[in-house]
Symmetry: C2
Subunit: 448 residues, 2 copies
């Protein structure tokens, strides 16, 4: 993308009404604009990151064998009356009447709707196991929306639902989700720690929340410091293997890690040596639940068990806060100059800064870099505006592309451009082809 | 995808409440399930096609230089009061009150919201031209939703908005959209004819609707038969060229083609020789508008004109009915056995039917085909169920994958499999590697 043709309304001033750094930076970089309280328009830069995050979630869910679909945003109240949650849910549920005066609602979650899909088509244990998921906008009518997309009212969530014949099978689905979530967050450059949590309005005895440690987190968390040393890394996993998934669960959840909802000071002190005890704040970016037959019994989602009987299916639900993740990513990746995107989710793979726009040689070198990078399937952002160098650098630092190639007449005389890491600030001079090769290597793409 | 692990709830019977063939087939193939009146869940197969259609729309919009973003589904009523449309819009607008009793609505379109984005950031002619678009769910509270996704209440639409300094520039944006729409529909295998239409509630003197001819269309249309011979084809176009875009507009709109809203029998008879006069029914799949300063004046979206003055920007809006397109595609591509997907939008690139599941040789040959196709980036659907051949063929014909590879012990003895075109029904026997090579050629991918 050429910046002269893009829509990137960056702001110099920090907006006064934004209290936390991710909200401030998303506004300053022109990623989002508030449309009304707790509801945002995703401007082009923000939308690009949102799509990258969404794409990683899709890929990892499908790698785990989960099947994508899409449920609507508006639901009929009838299904929620069946499950008993229509009255339970408080004012956070946005209730709507249509022109025929029918009770509708903007879905805050989808257990009822997916259970209805399931019971409409599936009647036999032979069709199990089954896990369906979607990524769709939800609405939660927060009384005081704040912190930008971190606690918005209209938000994008991935929610997935497993249907299994037995509790054992459903717990394998639970473990499979845990593994896929670890991979998902790591690909985004985030460390999200699974912590024992509370079921809340979804219900369920088995539930873990995934928390990113950050000062601005809404939850207080308590954990064994050893847990932050765990990495999923690039290990291969067979998602069909009960043993392998169970092994990962045990590795990542056997040490003490709990949110304040489930924290127990006595267990904490008994189980964790004092020097490894940590308390911190965390941002919740996902949660997995096994809740058994809570919805299948209420809504009569039963299958033939192969022994002549009918049994309610065992279910769980599993969510990733897709739009909220952008806030968490920025909370965890920024400095005084702006955002520092991890390579996995960056809106553009690198920036190209032309120090002397209008200079034939500099323009030509920038165009050549742009073409080479684009031909490899990468997306550079080329600052081709007639601005002074300082302004161009400030914009690039603010929006936080992980790599920047700086092109100027002086370097070109020596046959070099400058490649700069946004994270370390380190620069090196090298010929343009080598800069391209290095970017290609970083992103794991083949030279064209 | 292996069918044994997929969720494809096909039905044998035609649902009684579905009146038109696309609605019937989308239900029978398990593409959609009604969630409530005029609101659908997109089951896995339907969701896949929806994504393919969406992807083509994205690619063609971006090729034309239009910038993607995303506006929310819910909007504040305040902006609609500014434009004067809050009261104008009738009961089709879904009006909502939030917990603080604020007036909200589920956006049926986004002129107000995008104009607010524009005026918040852009103040100079130097930032023009600018075209922003998004693909987002909309709601229109139809009194009698029907025909499945063709006239649903919650529907997915691409809507784009151009902002230009002058009428001439805005008309170039109009033409650019017309060209990009022609490419978009052709890539999907659809012929959509631009016809002179009526502005309706959006407003505007210049507007064309794109119609797909089909017996079940909601509009009566009148046209010169020469128009159906026009093809955009694979011609190269420079979207920055006023002349080229204008040329395409003239080529595709100079012949008589109007919907019943603007049809004029006298002009029709004078302009079109009797033997070329056609009347038919059409499905509207898109519409483009130039409406000048209607919204920018009402909402004070002005820019410096570079001559010391401030002028309201010239705007247009441009929509493609993404979810509705699936209905139109099926209306235009089906036979007695089911759907016949064009290659551009097919949910899976080809089917693999194993005639003797459990036979080592047949299973091995199917697995090898599956791997070869997947390695090239294609998505085959492998029917690995223990069903009889007839049931497998019926399912494949119903869901309409354009190509099917049939694998059985008898053919394998002679070293061949069977490759069948869904559209023509023609089959040929050839070695598995050649079947794969032919599929690769059809989809324009390189062998791995």
């Amino acid at each position: 993308m050429r910046l002269s043709r893009y829509f990137l309304p960056v702001m110099k001033e920090t907006p006064a009404d934004a209290q936390i750094v991710s909200h401030q930076l998303m506004l300053r970089t022109g990623m989002i604009k508030q449309a009304s309280a707790g509801i945002y328009s995703w401007l082009p830069l923000g939308y690009k990151v949102l799509r990258r995050v969404e794409q990683i979630v899709h890929e990892e869910q499908q790698r785990a064998g989960h099947i994508p679909m899409l449920m609507p945003t508006l639901q009929s109240a009838d299904l929620w009356r069946e499950s008993g949650r229509y009255d339970d849910y408080g004012q956070e549920m946005l209730r709507i009447k249509d022109r025929h005066d029918r009770d509708m609602l903007y879905g805050p979650t989808n257990e009822e709707l997916i259970t209805d899909v399931f019971r409409s088509y599936v009647g036999s244990y032979k069709d199990l196991p089954l896990t369906l998921y979607h990524i769709q906008w939800k609405f939660r009518d927060e009384i005081r929306p704040r912190f930008g997309v971190m606690r918005g009212r209209e938000f994008l969530m991935k929610d997935g639902y497993n249907f299994d014949l037995t509790k054992e099978d459903a717990l394998h689905a639970y473990n499979r989700h845990l593994v896929s979530y670890l991979r998902t967050y790591e690909r985004m450059g985030l460390q999200a720690i699974p912590m024992r949590a509370d079921g809340g309005p979804i219900g369920g005895d088995y539930t873990h929340e995934f928390l990113v440690l950050a000062e601005t987190g809404e939850s207080e968390v308590f954990y064994d410091s050893q847990i932050t040393e765990l990495k999923f890394g690039d290990r291969q996993i067979d998602y069909d293997s009960v043993e392998q998934c169970q092994g990962v669960l045990e590795e990542f959840t056997s040490r003490y890690a709990r949110t304040d909802e489930t924290h127990d000071g006595i267990i904490f002190n008994n189980q964790v040596p004092a020097e490894r005890q940590r308390s911190a704040r965390g941002i919740e970016v996902g949660q997995i639940f096994y809740f058994g037959t809570k919805y299948s019994e209420a809504m009569n989602a039963v299958v033939d068990d192969g022994k002549g009987g009918k049994v309610p299916v065992h279910m769980g639900s599993h969510g990733i806060g897709v739009s909220r993740l952008l806030g968490a990513l920025i909370e965890a990746n920024h400095d005084d100059k702006g955002i520092i995107w991890p390579e996995g989710v960056t809106p553009f793979h690198c920036g190209i800064v032309n120090l002397k726009q209008g200079d034939d040689e500099a323009d030509g070198a920038c165009e050549a870099l742009y073409k080479s990078l684009t031909a490899m399937g990468l997306e550079p952002l080329y600052d081709d505006r007639s601005e002074r160098a300082g302004a161009k650098f400030a914009t690039m630092d603010l929006i936080g592309l992980p790599w920047r190639i700086t092109v100027g007449p002086r370097g070109l005389k020596n046959g070099v451009v400058e490649l700069t890491s946004r994270r370390t600030g380190e620069s090196e001079e090298l010929p343009p082809e080598q800069a391209v090769a290095k970017i290609a290597q970083i992103y794991g793409v083949a030279a064209a």
